[in-house]
């Protein structure tokens, strides 16, 4: 939804899309992601209960069902482990984040787009890379965009010299801020349930927000739209506990729209935190969460449901999957390169093995003879279909059982311990 209107999609905003560690699907909105995780990955197999985290599910399984959880359902094969504690975008290991970004960026560039130029200071990049992955608030992004544009000219040559992978470095190097976890406006309820505060503020929720359209059009969706629930009290009075989040490198300059749009908010007391606060408001925790704020977790916000748009910007879910297939040696994924979104579910590709009732297909015949070399056999099969980014990533496979002519059972039957002796047979037949 975010980018379609623009002639040139922005890598930045694609990178900013929340995505699921377990299945690499990306989402418009963090809340959708969290809901996705609860429904797809943290749902108890046995009773359908949706837990918040893998750890929670594990405990639930142990305590309620006396079972141990070993894998996360519906996860990509190498992501199914329980070692990492994931909640939304939190907890994703650094290397996975980098790999993900690389893939998105590569895909982006392959798609013929120009990456935004960013000034990336390698030193800061290194520092920042030690951080956890963070979801960027829309306001931050907006600010950074402005910042980048301002610096664009200055960075051009730097970007030019950075031949290796300018795109890749960019996201890592950029500080990304996360909504502060424990900011909990006391009276704030999901939606517009708050007491009638300053009407100007309340109106912000809907139409007034349109004033933000241009910047947000570029922004990733999290901060998009309808349920901007404004706090009934000025921010300055909110018990705001600043989380350990990274303040952007440059002095923070909130976009002017904020100030005009939210006159009641004292902009300075919060300083750089303001945009986060705003974002936080937009994703106000549900009452249950208010009572038990989870440190370091994103509040799951009921107020801002967004339709997950599957035709995500320039990198749709399927393409992502594709790219990831290379990285993720696996797959329960379909093997045809169908350009259709998979929804994170290994959709069955409508495949094209040309065998027909009457006509033996050429490729198949060749393949059959190469049973001994499983490495080679997968390739012709797939190359005969379409090949794009998948080409170099198409991995080798190893068959657990590769005898094409003798069934495992028949092999087994030749073992001495299963041998059936005709002598015994006669005796037994006589007995029977």
């Amino acid at each position: 939804m975010g980018k379609k209107k623009r002639s040139q999609p922005d890598l930045e905003e694609i990178l900013q899309r929340p995505w699921c560690y377990y299945c690499e699907r990306d989402f418009d909105d963090l809340k959708i992601l969290i809901n996705h995780q609860k429904a797809k990955h943290f749902k108890c197999d046995r009773c359908g209960r949706r837990l918040n985290t893998a750890g929670g599910l594990s405990v639930h399984m142990t305590q309620v069902h006396k079972e141990s959880l070993t894998t996360i359902e519906n996860a990509l094969p190498n992501r199914a482990g329980l070692e990492v504690e994931i909640f939304g975008m939190e907890g994703i290991p650094e290397d996975v984040v980098i790999a993900h970004r690389q893939r998105v960026a590569t895909q982006f560039v392959q798609a013929g787009n120009q990456p935004m130029n960013h000034n990336v200071n390698p030193a800061t990049a290194g520092i920042n890379s030690a951080k956890k992955p963070r979801l960027e608030a829309g306001s931050d992004l907006k600010k950074r965009l402005a910042e980048h544009k301002a610096k664009k000219a200055a960075v051009e040559e730097a970007a030019a010299t950075d031949t290796a992978s300018p795109v890749v470095d960019t996201p890592v190097g950029q500080p990304q801020s996360y909504p502060p976890p424990v900011f909990t406006p006391p009276q704030l309820l999901p939606g517009f349930a708050g007491p009638p505060g300053p009407t100007g503020l309340m109106n912000m929720g809907g139409p007034a927000f349109n004033g933000y359209a241009p910047p947000y059009g570029q922004a990733p969706t999290p901060f998009q739209a309808p349920s901007f629930t404004s706090p009934p009290v000025p921010f300055g009075q909110q018990p705001f506990e600043a989380p350990p989040f990274q303040v952007p490198q440059n002095a923070y300059a909130p976009p002017s729209q904020y100030q005009t749009g939210l006159p009641n908010i004292p902009s300075r007391p919060f300083g750089a935190n303001l945009p986060d606060a705003l974002h936080q408001v937009s994703s106000a925790p549900p009452p249950s969460m208010l009572q038990t704020p989870r440190p370091n977790s994103l509040p799951s916000a009921p107020g801002l449901p967004q339709r997950p748009s599957f035709g995500a910007p320039s990198v749709n879910a399927f393409q992502l999957q594709q790219m990831h297939q290379g990285h993720i040696p696996n797959s329960s994924l379909p093997y045809a390169d169908q350009p259709k979104p998979t929804n994170g579910i290994p959709a069955l590709a409508s495949n094209v093995i040309p065998a027909t009732v009457s006509q033996p297909p050429q490729p198949s015949v060749q393949l059959q003879t190469s049973t001994e070399i499983p490495k080679e056999e997968a390739k012709p099969a797939e190359s005969s279909i379409e090949k794009r980014s998948k080409k170099d990533k198409d991995k080798d496979i190893k068959l657990v059982y590769s005898d094409n002519d003798i069934s495992p059972e028949e092999k087994l039957s030749k073992l001495a311990r299963y041998a059936f002796h005709p002598v015994r047979q006669e005796a037994a037949t006589a007995g029977a």
Binding site: K38, E73, F310, L348, K395, I397, V400, S413, K414
Partner: protein, 370 residues
């Protein structure tokens, strides 16, 4: 508006009926060769390489072993017969036998010249089909006296791997990617009227369709759709194909195959370990199907919308067999040591049987993709 939609979604998820899965005790001591529900859906049998056929009853508290029937050789397949007191079995002693569970009486109804590895029973036609590694199929009429049951023997063009019956068709998957579809009715008729002679002991009968498998590797399992429209087949190379009987171009254009039951090698080499897909079973009500692989995973697929509906937690060893009860309420899963190149009979893992009580959402087709 969208908030309420979200709430609705959350509500739907949270009200899923509880599902249950329990493990069966008194399991066979060796690899399970097949597992089948009786038509009542409250009994199932398991045949095993340990030379026994086991009959279990599902009770309130789980499933209990009701009976075990000794054979003189490893049993490669067993099916329920005309009622729930009759089982047919085939095994490494080449015999096809009828077992009366009430009396434990065993009657050999025919013998192949190699192991009888697969059986299929058609309730509609009262026909039992047995296939053997001697590349023959025996056809038996089960409502006549035991001595006269064996009607005739059909010579196949290749060694069979798996057979499956639908209401009107018999599908035989064979070596060299051969796959034949027989029209059951005319097959039975031909078998009934044929007069095998000494010089020509085999029935002469052409399949309705001679096909080449859509899969490039050895077929492991074949299963007919409950609606009699087509079948699914699986291979040793982690792949499943779905095809339709209707020879028209548009029906044939619908067929497809997909990869599954593959796991990345644990050494991080980027190689995919590809497991055989040992078992396929269609859900009798919804027409979705489950696949079970050497990787220990069971997945439920919607063959029409081409989507995976569920994948269950990894089972402790290779999946040897799967079957849905006829009401679709249970899925029984046989877990056994798997087959691996060069390690015949040495596969890791132990024999287990799980019964899964299904809730609707696990097997119901999903809405087509938008």
């Amino acid at each position: 508006m969208s908030a309420s939609k979200l709430n609705l979604i959350a509500y739907l998820y949270s009200t899923d009926k509880p599902t249950d899965q329990f493990e069966v005790t008194d399991v066979p001591s060796d690899i399970i060769s097949s597992i089948k529900f009786a038509s009542s859906g409250r009994k199932f049998l398991a045949s095993s390489w340990d030379r026994y056929v086991y009959v279990y009853h599902i009770t309130e508290s789980g499933a209990s072993l009701a009976q075990k029937i000794q054979h003189r050789a490893p049993v490669l397949d067993a099916v329920w017969g005309e009622d729930e007191d009759v089982i047919y079995s085939g095994g490494l002693d080449w015999d096809v036998r009828r077992i009366d569970l009430k009396t434990s009486e065993q009657t050999v109804i025919s013998s192949h010249s190699a192991a009888a590895h697969a059986l299929a029973f058609s309730k509609d036609h009262q026909i039992l089909i047995s296939s053997s590694w001697d590349s023959t199929i025996n056809i038996h009429h089960t409502s006549t006296s035991p001595e006269n049951r064996h009607l005739s023997t059909l010579k196949l063009r290749q060694k069979p791997f798996s057979i499956s019956l639908s209401k009107t068709k018999l599908v035989v998957a064979m070596a060299s990617r051969a796959l034949d579809v027989y029209s059951l009715e005319s097959f039975v008729e031909a078998a009934t009227t044929s007069k095998p002679s000494a010089e020509n002991p085999f029935l002469v009968f052409e399949p309705w369709q001679k096909r080449e498998s859509s899969l490039k590797f050895q077929t492991r399992a074949v299963a007919c759709m409950p609606n009699d429209q087509g079948y699914a087949s699986s291979s040793i190379e982690g792949r499943v194909a779905v095809e339709w009987f209707d020879p028209s171009a548009e029906s044939q254009a619908k067929k497809y195959a997909f990869k599954c039951h593959r796991q990345p090698a644990s050494d991080g080499s980027g190689i995919d370990i590809v497991y055989p897909v040992n078992a396929l079973a269609f859900h009798p009500v919804h027409g979705t199907f489950a696949s079970g692989g050497g990787d220990g995973f069971v997945a439920v697929w919607d063959g029409i919308t081409k989507r995976r509906i569920r994948q269950y937690q990894r089972f402790p060893a290779s999946i040897a067999g799967l079957d849905f009860s006829s009401d679709g309420k249970y899925l029984v899963i046989a877990v056994s040591p798997g087959f691996e190149d060069g390690k015949e009979g040495e596969g890791a893992g132990e024999v287990r049987i799980f019964v899964r009580e299904l809730n609707e959402s696990e097997t119901k087709p999903k809405a087509a993709k938008e």
